[in-house]
């Protein structure tokens, strides 16, 4: 699918990438995770993603339904399969690997870099 203009994508069409970020209250780790996630998505999935932040303190029952044990956790809801990355997402490479972002990435630079690192 073609990339759409970045700013309007979320408004007009459901994005390809649905990411959920589970946090437990406004902790420094949660904030760091959110910042890191947004940065990575902007770099690799510009205009094709949506981040949903779920605070487990407000909705504790969700942890059970969504099988969350550690916070922060990012869950790739779509596209399938479901993938999870836990931690503050400070290691970009691991986030990319964990969310399996490289295959969908348009940038050959990152892809190559990833390969050499692995």
């Amino acid at each position: 699918m073609k990339a759409r203009p970045r700013r309007n994508s979320r408004l007009f069409k459901a994005p390809d990438w649905h990411l959920q970020l589970y946090v437990a209250g406004p902790t420094p780790k949660s904030a760091a995770a959110f910042r890191n996630l947004e940065r990575i998505c902007e770099e690799h999935l510009a205009g094709r993603y949506h981040i949903e932040v779920i605070d487990l303190i407000k909705n504790p029952q969700i942890a059970r339904y969504d099988q969350i044990i550690a916070v922060p956790t990012v869950v790739r809801k779509s596209p399938p399969p479901v993938r999870k990355v836990i931690g503050d997402l400070s290691n970009t490479e691991r986030v990319l690997a964990g969310l399996d972002l490289r295959r969908h990435d348009s940038s050959p630079f990152v892809s190559r870099k990833g390969k050499t690192q692995l």
Partner: protein
């Protein structure tokens, strides 16, 4: 709330009963309430089941709802696994007495980057506890987190926090853990739990397995320290500890009939003491089972209940065989007074046999228990183990006041089997059944080796089985030893013949004597008459002499007169005797 805990006023550790049979006995009341307990053991030794039972009993018996946090099995799997034990988890879940939270952590789903904590897990648990107001929590097994999350430092920090937090919440926690090589658990879970550690074990010895449980540690409480065997069967986990090491069971003066009249007579005319243990040993085919079945029959006939354990024959076979000696055991089975439990000895380990036996006895509450036969159990353990197990069984039965009969097979030539020597000091009454081979026949004899507290007979009896049942007969004891069977009958016939001869002899002697007596009588009579005759003769002689004398005197006078003897004439006037002097 029906919470059964010890009195908190006495500053004692509050305990949370597990409801698992025997475990509360060992732990003297249950697990430490409001604290975590570690249950560790190898794979398949019953950790999950123990934990689940803790929750189910808590929910159903003690009014304490529980949360089961499963890391390895899903709620559906858990429900299915314990359904066979009669635990209806679905209903409990619906009644909000139980909540199962399956924590799915598949490693391939995870990628770890940077800092994180297990707040999500805490929140889940916290929420679950709140939803059903849980008092009990199981974490089965939280170790899986270690294998799936790569940062042990975070794990440790989180777990420390978790247990601090659980203690604050005041819930009683069971945490299960896999047994490790060196430490108790593979990931050193014991470092988080310092209050109570229970170890489960599943050992295979000679191809039979025995499950054992041990309370390794219980802070602030005394507890049984031994390894106790436990069972997992259709009612779940049960432990059968012999906690009473003291011999303080109530002894009864009451006796129960043996079912064999003459055996009663041999036993002081009363039978076996109620609550005593009787060992019946003998070689193959001496009628051990029959004596035991007779006791069972007699017990049921009096309206009692009897539990019959057989390691050799099926119930049908026993009943058929016993019907040939006139025992209709079927009727008692139908009436629910007689219960058979037949299983091959090697099917379970010794402990399992014991535990099953004790469970059955506890449920059935019989007055008499028969174990036929002990020798089968020899293969299931060492003599030391067997003796320990027997001691526990005997003590258990004595405490309950149940009369127990154990039969034991001894080998030919060896009157006492291994088991005999092992338990002989434990039994109160010891009957020996013996084979006697004589004149090409085989006969049985029975004697009492000992019977504590009873003036029992010391004589052997011949033991006869017929369609009328068991009979005891006197054996012939003579100079040539003990005789039984046809030898006894032959000997008796010979004795009778001898007696007849002896009687005739006596009669003849009596006749002789009588004859002699008569003869003497006659002789006496003859002598008497002779004597009288003699007397008469003497009388006659005297008379004659007197008459002669008189006639001679008359004659002299006549002659003198005729001779004109003046002297003589003159003397006619004087007394006669004067005349004699003048004659010369």
């Amino acid at each position: 709330m029906k919470k059964k805990t010890t009195d908190t006023n006495r500053n004692e550790l509050r305990k949370s009963p597990t409801g698992i049979r025997g475990l509360d006995e060992i732990t003297e009341g249950g697990l430490p309430a409001g604290r975590p307990t570690l249950v560790c053991g190898g794979t398949g030794c019953g950790k999950t089941l123990l934990a689940m039972e803790f929750l189910v009993h808590g929910a159903t018996e003690y009014g304490e709802p529980g949360v089961f946090m499963a890391f390895e099995e899903t709620a559906a799997e858990l429900t299915e696994n314990v359904a066979s034990l009669g635990f209806d988890l679905k209903t409990l879940i619906a009644r909000k007495l139980l909540l199962i939270d399956y924590v799915q952590i598949e490693r391939y789903e995870f990628e770890e980057t940077g800092e994180y904590d297990l707040e999500g897990l805490f929140l889940r648990l916290d929420q679950a506890i709140d939803v059903i107001k849980a008092k009990r929590v199981v974490l089965d097994t939280i170790e899986s987190l270690f294998s799936r999350l790569s940062n042990p430092a975070i794990m440790r920090e989180s777990l420390h926090r978790l247990f601090r937090w659980l203690k604050q919440r005041g819930v009683t926690v069971i945490m299960t853990g896999e047994r490790g090589e060196g430490p108790l658990t593979r990931y050193g879970l014991e470092e988080y739990v310092s209050d109570c550690v229970i170890s489960l074990d599943h050992r295979v010895l000679d191809q039979t397995t025995t499950r054992r449980i041990r309370v390794v540690k219980y802070r602030g409480s005394t507890h049984g320290t031994n390894e106790y065997p436990f069972l997992i069967d259709k009612v779940g986990i049960s432990i059968w500890p012999v906690t009473s090491v003291h011999l303080e069971h109530h002894t009864s003066d009451e006796c129960i009939p043996t079912g064999i009249e003459r055996l009663d007579a041999m036993l002081d005319g009363r039978g076996y003491y109620r609550g005593s243990s009787i060992l019946l040993s003998g070689t193959a085919g001496t009628g051990k089972t029959s004596v035991a079945a007779t006791l069972a029959d007699a017990t049921c006939r009096r309206g009692g209940r009897c539990q019959f354990f057989s390691f050799e024959e099926s119930p049908e076979q026993i009943m058929r065989n016993m019907s040939t000696i006139g025992l209709g055991l079927q009727q008692w089975v139908k009436k629910g007074r007689l219960q058979f439990q037949t299983v091959r000895p090697f099917y379970y380990g010794l402990e399992m046999h014991l535990a099953r036996a004790i469970r059955l006895i506890t449920e059935f509450e019989p007055q008499v228990v028969i174990v036929d036969q002990l020798s089968g159990l020899e293969t299931t353990g060492t003599p030391v183990e067997l003796k320990a197990a027997m001691m526990r069984l005997i003590d258990f039965l004595k405490m309950k006041g149940i009369t127990a009969m154990y039969t034991d097979l001894t080998s030919d030539g060896n009157s006492l089997a291994l088991t005999d020597t092992a338990i002989s000091s434990l039994v109160d009454t010891w009957l020996i059944l013996r084979d006697l081979e004589l004149n090409g026949e085989r006969h049985r004899s029975l004697h009492i080796l000992k019977s504590r507290g009873m003036a029992h007979s010391n004589q052997a009896r011949e033991f006869i089985m017929s369609e009328r049942g068991i009979e005891l007969k006197d054996v012939y004891r003579g100079p040539s030893g003990m005789l039984t069977g046809s030898a006894r009958a032959g000997q008796e016939a010979r004795e009778r013949a001898l007696q007849v001869i002896r009687n005739e002899e006596v009669e003849r002697q009596q006749l002789d004597l009588k004859r002699k007596h008569d003869l003497l009588e006659r002789q006496i009579a003859a002598l008497h008459s002779e004597f009288s005759a003699e007397e008469a003769r003497i009388g006659r002689i005297n008379d004659y002499r007197l008459r002669q004398k008189q006639s001679r005197a008359g004659d002299e006078l006549e002659m003198g007169l005729s001779r004109k003897d003046d002297v003589k004439i003159g003397r006619k006037l004087i007394p006669k005797n004067g005349g004699n002097g003048t004659k010369s």
